[in-house]
Amino acid sequence: MRVFVSFVAGSTFGLGLLISGMTDTTKVQGWLDVFGNWDPTLAFVMGGAIIPMAIAWAYTVGRKPVLADAFPTPPEPKVGRNLVLGSTLFGMGWGLAGLCPGPAIASLGYGGIGGVIFLLAMVAGMVVTPGLRRRLDPSAVAV
């Protein structure tokens, strides 16, 4: 059942990405391009997505998930080097191509060979990161 719910969530997520225009790299780069022809669409997408999730988080208080024992505990409010460095590197790649991990998968069916190349490079980056993380911060647990 959890597997089926995961499929439903992934499908819904993908549909939302397509409808919102977030698999169109010009929309993402247009949002980041504050000195060019700025496109505010991404702000509407982000705002729209945060509304149901804020309600969902409020609902979790004092309750349990339907198919799990507990909700994920609030992340340790520690802003470390990996978070800052990782987010910066991610932002650079996001700006260069206009794709982030969700839309990279969602647009694979119609993104042509470039989309496939992007995904392969992204997966390669993900595979080498646990080793990189240990080198950057030996005390960190690779989660």
């Binding site: 309600i55 979790t60 969700g102």
Partner: protein, 141 residues
């Protein structure tokens, strides 16, 4: 233009609804980079079927929907060097930061997580500077 904003808002609410379903039923954070990353680096072996099912839905449904409406265009650059560099940066960066636009952005900000807010500030800032540098100054993208 305003039509794009409306579609953005509607699509955004659908994205947030997907994240809410994933949280309220499965008790998990809907973060695309974490779901993919755990599958490809072996750290998510115990729940690989859930991760795979999520990704199958994420891949197939927009693909079929785009096909049904006569196709959709990603306008991705044809410069393979840029694509490969961007892919590597996104892969390493999201795993190092433990999240991306969906996990830190949508799921983190909505719970007012300091990590999510800081991460989002840095990836938007870095993305903006990258576009300024590579588009307006270097003319690469």
């Amino acid at each position: 233009m305003p039509m794009d904003w409306i579609l953005g808002l509607v699509g955004g609410v659908i994205i947030g609804t997907a994240a809410a379903i994933y949280l309220l039923v499965n008790g998990r954070i809907m973060g695309a980079s974490g779901i993919i990353g755990g599958l490809v680096d072996g750290s998510g072996r115990s729940d690989w079927a859930e991760r795979a099912a999520f990704l199958v839905g994420l891949l197939v449904v927009p693909g079929v929907a785009a096909f049904a409406v006569g196709g959709s265009e990603t306008h991705l650059t044809s410069n393979w060097a840029v694509i490969i560099a961007a892919g590597l940066l996104v892969g390493v960066g999201t795993r190092l930061a433990n999240g991306c636009t969906s996990g830190h952005g949508v799921c983190g900000i909505s719970r007012l997580s300091l990590r999510g807010i800081v991460s989002t500030a840095f990836y938007i800032g870095a993305g903006g500077l990258t576009v300024v540098l590579f588009k307006h100054l270097l003319g690469v993208i």
